[in-house]
């Protein structure tokens, strides 16, 4: 009897390991391919990969992703200015004013926003911003990705703040702190890591989402958005460039797409590492 049990246990373990491997394998495959092809593309193009515009299709040259990279950095920055404060404040509001109708409404709308397909968010911004302005723009793209990031960041912030033991809030109020002081000096400060994680997830979304940009960003593959005025003009972004170039039959453009994919991944990774280094974990 004990022997068949042991055999069964072994079989089960083998099965589970195999399934786990099957789940991880594609991820490793993607990362390995990305690293291999991406590195190839970047090394082939040299430093120009980060600064130049894509070379003409089918030419032997590859050029670079300069304008798209700059566009993505703008999107990250603008969503950091527009989306992050809105999302963090919404999360704080939902937790600190829990029980009030307005907080309930905010929570409901934030969580419903997750369910809205991101392409629809793009269409919404198209109707509200692009049409009235008469043309696509980096700003419209930033508004769209900010809306996409919102529910993710809100729910991270909300979770981080509500996990905080109630006793610290009470201590704050008991010593005469206002709601804002409790939210900012106590709750946010203790839950700093969790709040930062929410900001990160949001900004990574802003950097890497494609769908919301389709209706909002337009196309400006060769123009560098170097002035504030250019934010009101069409632009380019790394994920959009990947999406569009990877589908073309031109080998030099496909290579650019691989390199761009690697750059995007590293960018997000860099962001995560930075925040991990900068935001101290509070030991409770």
């Amino acid at each position: 009897m004990p022997d068949t049990r042991r055999v069964k246990e072994r079989l089960f373990l083998a099965l589970v390991s195999l399934l786990a491997l099957a789940a991880i394998a594609p991820l490793f495959h993607i990362l390995a391919t990305l690293a291999y092809k991406g590195m190839g593309a970047i090394i082939g193009a040299g430093l120009g990969f980060f600064t130049q515009a894509p070379a003409p299709p089918g030419s032997g040259e590859s050029g670079g992703i300069g304008p798209a990279l700059l566009g993505t950095l703008w999107l990250g920055l603008l969503s950091g200015i527009l989306g992050v404060p809105l999302a963090v404040l919404t999360g704080v509001f939902i937790v600190e004013y829990r029980g009030t109708p307005l907080a309930g409404l905010a929570r409901l709308s934030a969580s419903s926003l997750v369910e809205v397909p991101t392409i629809l968010i793009g269409m919404l911004v198209f109707l509200l911003l692009v049409k009235p302005m008469g043309h696509y723009s980096i700003l419209a793209g930033a508004v769209a990705v900010s809306l996409v990031m919102l529910p993710y960041t809100v729910s991270y912030v909300e979770r981080a703040l509500s996990q905080l033991p109630h006793t610290y809030r009470e201590a704050g109020y008991a010593m005469g702190m206002t709601r804002a002081q409790v939210a900012y000096r106590v709750a946010m400060a203790i839950a700093g890591r969790g709040v930062a994680a929410g900001v990160l997830v949001g900004v990574s979304k802003a950097l890497s989402e494609t769908a919301p940009l389709l209706f909002t960003l337009g196309s400006a593959r060769g123009a560098y958005p170097t002035s504030l005025g250019s934010l009101l003009a069409p632009g380019d972004a790394v994920p959009l460039l990947i999406f569009q170039l990877a589908q073309t039959p031109y080998e030099n453009w496909q290579e650019l797409a691989w390199g761009a994919g690697l750059v995007l991944t590293l960018l997000v990774l860099l962001l995560f590492t930075l925040v991990k280094l900068l935001v101290r974990e509070v030991r409770v």
């Binding site: 029980g99 006793t167 610290y168 009470e170 109020y173 008991a174 010593m175 203790i190 030991r283």
Partner: protein, 260 residues
């Protein structure tokens, strides 16, 4: 600063429609320690939270009656004014984990702008830590964090944080439950000294008849939200060396049964 008297009259408290406190009457005098005792769930913490309006934080909580804290009509006044006069220490030590030992004590005086200079702030922090009998243990490690302290030290830090604001009324919710004997003794000394030297009004919730006897002048017994007994501690808890702690407790509650 003016001594502040706490008067509670006809206080009823409900949480989510369930009545927690019934017609509570209480008078706590400056320089005196009032002990509040009673079984678990009898409403002791709720009573303290009503006095400093932490009750406002509980959704569905409602209080009726009169609570006077010095000049303030505490149930109607701005809660920030009420809390400015009162300090509170909770059952579990809760110094802010993200602040250093120094900042935990300094945050109150900073928020309420009690110090004009860094030196003044240093003085307040040292005074409060000395008052809480913690100074000697932490004076060389003020920039360390609470998680580096023992439970008893953390509780004394919570006490110092409250004292730094020189509250006229100090609310203590079982401050020595689960605290080591040495820290308990220091906390008890702090409480007595603060009441005496600052003419502060102290309300102490405790489960220990021995502690109540050692510290308090007056004793209030709560049972199921009602005041079951009230009077000078010396009368309710006779100071006899021969009576053991469990026996003291038994006497209290036998007494209760006579009344209720």
């Amino acid at each position: 600063m003016e001594p502040v008297e706490v008067v509670v009259r006809g206080l009823n408290v409900w949480i989510n429609g369930r009545q927690i406190l019934y017609n509570v009457e209480l008078r706590a005098l400056p320089g005196r320690i009032t002990a509040v005792m009673g079984p678990s769930g009898s409403g002791k913490s709720t009573l303290l939270r009503t006095l400093n309006r932490l009750l406002d934080l509980i959704p569905g909580a409602r209080a009726e009656g009169v609570v006077r804290i010095g000049p303030l009509d505490a149930l109607k006044a701005d809660p920030y004014h009420v809390r400015r006069l009162t300090g509170m220490v909770f059952q579990e030590p809760n110094p802010f984990p993200h602040m250093t030992i120094y900042d935990n004590v300094a945050i109150g005086p900073r928020l309420h702008r009690l110090a004009q200079s860094r030196e003044e702030l240093d003085d307040i922090v040292e005074w409060a830590l000395r008052a809480a009998h913690l100074w000697d243990e932490v004076k060389h490690r003020l920039d360390e964090y609470p998680h580096q302290l023992s439970g008893g030290q953390r509780q004394r830090l919570s006490l110092a944080r409250a004292l730094a604001l020189r509250p006229r009324v100090l609310l203590l919710d079982e401050p020595t439950a689960n605290i080591d004997p040495a820290s308990t003794e220091k906390i008890e000394q702090t409480i007595s000294q603060y009441a005496r030297e600052n003419q502060a009004t102290i309300i102490l919730v405790t489960h220990s008849p021995v502690q109540a006897r050692r510290l308090s002048h007056q004793l209030v017994l709560l049972q199921e939200g009602r005041i079951a007994r009230r009077g000078p501690t010396a009368e309710l808890l006779p100071n006899s060396e021969t009576i053991t702690a469990p026996e003291l407790g038994r006497r209290l509650f036998y007494g209760l049964q006579d009344i209720t």
